[in-house]
Amino acid sequence: MAATTADGSKVVGGGEKSNVDEESKMITLFSSDGERFEVTQEAAAMSQTIHHMMEDGCVDDEGVHLPNVGSSILAMVIEYCNRHVASPDEKEDIRSFDAGFVNVEHHTLFDIIRAANYLDVKELMDLCCQTVADSIKSKSVEEIRELFGIVNDFTPEEEAEIRKENQWAFE
């Protein structure tokens, strides 16, 4: 959904590129790798981090630099925010959007979690953390290790000791 405009900046989401647009004031975000993203202020405000910066007057004409967020992940976060401010009341649609949104590889999901945490987008954090939790919930320890590539660095004795220590949880 990203389109590149004449000056090379990317416009993500449905908004028209506009620097001075009374109805939906735009704000520019820069990813860690220098890519430019134009977002409505309303969508950007879903990030409490950016929201506070806007309120405190820390956003200059140039925009906001986000050295901790790469372009591909930032694009996804923006897509999420755009979708959620667009029609917040259509619960069914949003639910299916969310389900599709988190249907990504785990490492992408973790990167989104990091970005959502840094940008402080609570709903996105809740969604992604819940997704990871759901995939842990009903699995055995072995299955969890396998799914996420967790290396078991315990000796068998150590592992037995821990299981005994937390016996109550394994019963």
């Binding site: 590889e105 785990h106 490492h107 973790f110 979690i113 990091r114 945490n117 954090m125 809740d126 953390c129 819940q130 990871v132 939790a133 759901d134 842990i136 919930k137 320890v141 072995e142 969890i144 290790r145 396998e146 799914l147 996420f148 590539g149 967790i150 290396v151 078991n152 660095d153 315990f154 000796t155 068998p156 592992e159 821990i162 299981r163 220590e165 937390n166 016996q167 109550w168 949880a169 394994f170 019963e171």
Partner: protein
């Protein structure tokens, strides 16, 4: 899975995690992993992650909130609390099934020592044949929670005694639901200012063993006592109290105690007294700032003494006041009126009422007569809301039986009433019946300075019928009255 020492198991390729065998999950910082573990909403599941790898071993012990569900052994809760990192714990949410005092006593003291936040303990009680046997230990001791800010106990009438010592220094909210209180320490002593200096909201909803409740609190803002079975004496000295609710404590289906009560709460804004009231014994004190009052519902017709007794509470309570800003009042009709006495005329005067929120459960009877009687005694009302509750009626019944006496003396049809202060009239959840139409026309005639009228209908009323009703009203109304509602053009 058997593994030789030192061998790193080859990771089987997993389609859903294509690309790299890196463990990106474990690479997340603690606080993000904890947010994921919190979403598990189950401490046992979270604790099992301890065995995933050394990175995970103590992670769950840093969880700020722990949940335990029915089926968890009390020893398990204790073990979990003991393994858990004391400094990290904030909130505890525990649901038990048929707990015994001994089992609760096993882990509660540890929780009390560590918890700085919120405790919710629910005991689901399933009455059992074998429960008739006398327990050796009848109550657990609730320790003093020195740091907790909020405690919510729903105990299924499990016996509880209060520790006589210690200060609940940071407790602002306490909710005791379905508790059976045991001595020797009285609840009032435990929750008054010396031992609960920060308490702002106290709810006791369903209690046994609380015959005498005396509380002295400088901090208390809201107090609710509901179904405190067998309450005999109530003393509330709370200079900062804004809201007081006493519901079915002195008078209930099982008890009828003299309402001996002394209330000293001069800042009170809201009083809900749905209970026995007798000015000889019930001292409400000065409530100069009172905004809202709610009483027992009033039985328009009664066929036994209990209806008259309850009505007398309401009338005596109303007589205590000269002026009421907002009165929430309910009129109850029975299904059948024959052989019932009309009790409305027992109300001989009302205080000056500014705003009246009237709920009527007409059970398909005409209610014009009782409405007229009520309004004739509070003609200074400025805002009147009449909400009809038709849900409790027989679903099919829209008119009462033939020959019913409910409208035998329809003085409201012919007599005049001067409601020359009434500016706003809300009719909520009406049924668009002919009786209602006639009544609204009279209301419009009585309310000579009416400015706004809002009408909404019960969900069961057909759109066409509602529109018809509103059209009729608009024709009958005056041009200066603003008519509001979804069915007005």
């Amino acid at each position: 899975m058997e593994r030789r020492d030192g061998e790193i198991p080859t990771k089987r390729s997993n389609l859903s995690d294509g690309g790299g065998s890196e463990d990106r999950l474990s690479a997340l910082p603690d606080d993000l992993l904890l947010q994921i573990l919190l979403k598990l909403v189950d401490t046992a599941v979270a604790a099992r992650t301890s065995v995933l790898s050394s990175r995970w071993r103590r992670l769950w012990t840093l969880l700020p909130k722990l949940w335990f569900y029915p089926g968890t052994e009390p020893l398990a809760i204790r073990a979990a609390l003991e393994s858990h990192e004391a400094a990290a714990l904030r909130d505890l949410d525990i649901t038990l099934l048929d707990a015994t005092p001994e089992s609760v006593a096993g882990w509660l003291p540890i929780a009390a020592r560590r918890l700085p936040g919120h405790l919710k303990l629910v005991n689901i009680f399933e009455p059992d044949e074998s429960d008739g046997q006398a327990r050796e230990i009848v109550a657990f001791l609730l320790p003093c929670f020195q740091n907790a800010t909020s405690i919510h106990l729903e105990l299924g009438y499990l016996g509880m005694a209060l520790h006589p010592l210690g200060v609940f220094a940071r407790l602002t909210d306490l909710n005791l639901t379905c508790v059976e209180l045991h001595g020797p320490c009285m609840l009032g002593e435990a929750v008054s200012s010396p031992r609960c200096p920060s308490l702002q909201r106290l709810i006791v909803h369903g209690a046994r063993g609380l015959g005498n409740f005396t509380i002295h609190s400088h901090s208390l803002k809201r107090l609710m006592l509901r179904n405190v079975h067998g309450l005999e004496q109530l003393t509330v000295i709370a200079p900062a109290l804004l809201s007081l609710s006493v519901i079915c404590c002195f008078h209930s289906t099982t008890t009828m105690n003299q309402p001996v009560a002394t209330i000293s709460s001069p800042q009170l804004l809201s009083l809900i007294w749905v209970d026995a009231y007798d000015p000889r014994f019930t001292q409400l004190g000065e409530m100069e700032n009172l905004q809202r009052l709610s009483t027992y519902p009033f039985f328009v017709y009664g066929h036994n003494d209990s209806h008259k007794v309850v009505n007398s509470y309401t009338m005596k309570l109303l007589s205590h006041f000269k002026l009421i800003q907002t009165l929430n009042f309910k009129l109850l009709y029975p299904l059948e009126i024959t052989n019932h006495e009309y009790l409305m005329e027992d109300i001989t005067r009302l205080p000056n009422i500014v705003v009246m929120n009237l709920h009527i459960e007409p059970k398909a009877h005409s209610f014009g007569t009782s409405l007229f009687h009520l309004l004739s005694m509070c003609t200074g009302v400025r805002k009147l809301t009449i909400t009809l509750d038709c849900k409790t009626s027989h679903p099919v019944q829209t008119v009462c039986s033939a020959g019913c006496v409910c409208d035998q003396t329809p003085n409201w049809k012919t007599e005049e009433l001067t409601l020359n202060c009434l500016k706003r009239l809300n009719l909520s959840n009406w049924g668009a019946t002919d009786h209602e139409a006639a009544l609204v026309k009279r209301l419009l005639e009585w309310a000579t300075v009416l400015q706004t009228m809002t009408v909404t209908f019960d969900r069961s009323v057909a759109g066409s019928k509602a529109k018809e009703f509103c059209q009729m009203l608009q024709i009958f109304s005056r041009p200066e009255i603003c008519m509001r509602g979804p069915h007005f053009v």
